[in-house]
Point group: C3
Chain length 380, copies 3
């Protein structure tokens, strides 16, 4: 790792001491605060908290596995971010034989590791640290290839990663847990219980994820209005999702009691589903609708789909990532496509349209007006 | 809720894709970083943490009610922020039949919900989720009316919300708990004990509230020096309050032992009391004095006043919000009035004076020099 | 304290209401966002979390001392920051008989208190609150004197405080614990066990420290590229340190089991060691090497050195601060000296070189090219 970093990794100009005289003069920048650091660093730290505290503590609900969940999550994420900087660097930031890293690379590495944490949720309690590191190695590599295909070749816009992070992570994790399935693992079920304190620890994870999700979806959006909009939409979607989850959870359970697992997980589905479209001109009521739908889908998934997957398809999904990341991620992709298809110059303004969807270079002739079966995918 | 959002809520220009070509050109803005998002977003996230982690975990000290406290707080806050965006929007951001929302609206919605969380502290453990949602509905509505009267009609300045948030929340909560009083509720007292772990969870809430309070008081202050000053003053006041609380707690308890309830709560009173005046030119030693007084008042309140309220007035104040939010909020209003009354052009500069107290439009002729019984309230 | 603040402490111009018309016009500042507040405030809040949540919860691992650790840490830090603002103010920000405070002073006060928290780790569980307050009083005073000698007289650059904060704090703490040594304290050893839940609480502290360390090392760096670079380097070093710690911990323990104490502590050593050099042009692979070395040194220290110190030198180091802060701090100083000695105009650019090492005023003739035994210390 040290050798690979030594050969390839250098600072981006904005993080280099030569920024002072070279870049600033060339680009006519008058103030230090225009450095990308000040646009992105607060969001980066929020995302960082989500990966290490959020995902780590969300998985502490197992009675006998709290320390393991936090510790292994810590280990695999630390390994993953280093490997992700290299892999994503080769695909996205490679210039003159060097990878130029800045704060945006750190955010993307955290995103990539977020995908690994999602997959870890499916195999929680069933794997050794070494197995986890190997899984991380493969998943980060595949993640980067998948991301390169989506973002660079198909020119898809997916700032919050509904597709690249959540859907990919969920189905990767489900595949791994299917492969790891052994009938005698059924025995471990009696360890799956939670106790009172472990549930409060898990709430720490849930609430930090919930709170910082607006930063997650806005972290790598365009500067200015796009980051602003992405944060507002995610906030609205998450708030709506909590209400729907609580309502459906008490309806579907006997005696109207709330199920802690639903509150810990399904409340987050709204953030997943709005990831792709949050930075577009999705109006706030649209975010509420997305949150509303995802709250229902996710809660129903926990009640009916997870037991079905386990008994019929032999997929043991410890944390229910299919309900939290898989299905909402797919919904997110669809919502993103619809929102992009509905984009007009009247709503975005002509400069805003070009900036939002990055219709530059080879893509300058693309328009967001989809003909049926036409370039819908391109604009999404 | 979705219908109401659909009819009324739109993005503020700074969060709209048209910002790029319309607003930026008109206002001669040269850099994306001038978007209000970058001024307010880090503070917003801190406030968000205070509402969901801070208030949520502060109330986990009850032995059998930890999960309920966090979970119900999560539920009512998620509901409250949606309703608050609408209510506050109608009163403050209504333009051409639409509510234009930006990051400042999200902060204000969080503030409004903070007031509900304060009131929740009084009835903790005595109400069902449905009762809580109804309370939230009413309180958010009344909060917005009260805020409109104070800020818009009386033109009071109250950035940290000593009056609008804390005093209002505390007395609303005390009223509700008085109404809910039933003699047989006395039985629930044996559930009021705390255990060792639940006290450590409560410390998570306390410390996050304590740490992020400077963001709370500076979040909606004017850009630039006012936010800077509000953060410094709150920091000083809180630090002084901790020392006073610890000193008085060990003096008032037998054998000099520290009472955990005091440390979990009274240490925060300094932040409440400096809310109104923090963004004014209250000097740092003034903040220390405010923190010093509030630490005493709040600790003495816990020792003598709460038992008195419960036995004589039948007000069961589970978390002691009267000591933490009620009395310090009133002190905060008084300190704010005094600080505003003492404002002079020499200290503020003439432009600074107009900017700090917003002497524009109909209020351009107001001066901060109060005659006895004169426009003191106007300047505060 | 109130009197001292009243006599000496005033706002820095950027936090004063007169900023609007005086400073902004004089310095030709066109935008409110150029206020130092927006450069430093997010980092300040992260450092604040590290001091109160990070150090507080890191020390909750003792079974019977969780609440005490968080509470006493809260108390001493609140006292320390007030005293540190005064002491550091007299040495660094004294102008016309007044201390002018701004957000940078708050960060430096937090740093100073961080040093006290380090020392607290050595005497955890062996001292009363009053003893702690006295220790804080002395240590803050000595810290400020030491900082003045290093930064102002020797003109050393140490933004992340490897030397001033960590090394000083560790050896101060070790001295205190040596003085407090009483043979009968050995009895308290049976209280040193940890239980499952207290270890998860300690992980909250570890992870918050780990996550926000990039903010710690970049908080008081120069605006722009230096803050950017410091954050990236710290991030890389910490990630490498986690992997090395886990690898060596499982190698050194019987049966390959992971030791929780190592994961809770040694993983942080990489952040300590890169403190001095992070804002210099230390390349990312250099950070990885530093993290790699510190992970080894710190883990080996926990396994072999701590028992040796206790049995031979009668130094009871409860939290192992010698391994986490002492040795990595020394490594950090050495790495900083080497990085500074290797600075050239080719890498930094001539303006960047002057800005990074602050070769202005009396130091304008200094160069970073060290002759053997020459001005190496000056440049570091």
């Amino acid at each position: 790792m040290i050798i690979l970093f030594g050969v390839f990794v250098r600072f981006t100009p904005e993080a280099s001491a030569r920024w002072e005289e070279e870049e600033k003069k060339q680009n006519n920048i008058t103030s230090d605060i225009e450095n990308d650091f000040y646009y992105r660093y607060p969001s980066f730290q929020d995302v960082h908290v989500m990966i290490f505290i959020g995902f780590g503590f969300l998985m502490t609900f197992l009675q006998r596995y709290g320390f393991g969940a936090v510790g292994f999550n810590f280990l695999l994420a630390s390994f993953g971010i280093q490997w992700a900087i290299l892999m994503q660097g080769w695909f996205h930031s490679f210039k003159d034989g060097k990878i130029l890293i800045g704060v945006e690379n750190l955010i993307n590495a955290d995103f990539c590791v977020g995908s690994v944490c999602v997959a870890f949720g499916a195999i929680l309690g069933k794997s050794s640290p070494v197995q986890l590191l190997i899984m991380t190695l493969f998943q980060v590599t595949l993640f980067s290839v998948n991301e390169y295909i989506l973002l660079n070749l198909l020119h898809v816009i997916d700032a919050g990663g509904s597709m690249t992070i959540h859907t990919f992570g969920a189905y990767f994790g489900l595949t791994v847990t299917r492969i790891l399935y052994r009938p005698n693992l059924e025995q471990s079920k009696d360890k799956q219980g939670s106790v009172y304190h472990s549930d409060i620890f898990a709430m720490i994870g849930t609430i930090f994820l919930w709170m910082y999700w607006p930063s997650f979806n806005s972290a790598v959006s365009n500067h200015g209005d796009a980051q602003h909009r992405a944060a507002i939409n995610t906030y609205c979607s998450l708030a709506a999702c909590v209400l729907t989850t609580v309502a459906f959870s008490s309806m579907l359970e006997k005696k109207g009691k709330l199920d802690m697992v639903h509150i810990q997980n399904a409340t987050l589905a709204g953030g997943v589903a709005v990831g792709t479209s949050a930075e577009m001109m999705l109006p706030p009521y649209g975010s509420l609708i997305v949150g509303f739908i995802c709250g229902i889908v996710s809660t129903v998934g926990y009640v009916y789909l997870t037991p079905f997957l386990e008994s019929r398809l032999h997929i043991q999904d410890t944390c229910g990532i299919h309900n939290l990341h898989g299905m909402p991620g797919i919904i997110g992709g669809i919502v993103g496509a619809i929102t992009a298809a509905a984009a007009t110059k009247r709503v975005y303004g002509s400069e805003g349209l070009v900036k939002t969807f990055d219709f530059t270079g080879d893509y300058a002739n693309r328009t967001p007006m989809p003909l049926l079966g036409g370039p819908l995918w391109g604009a999404s």
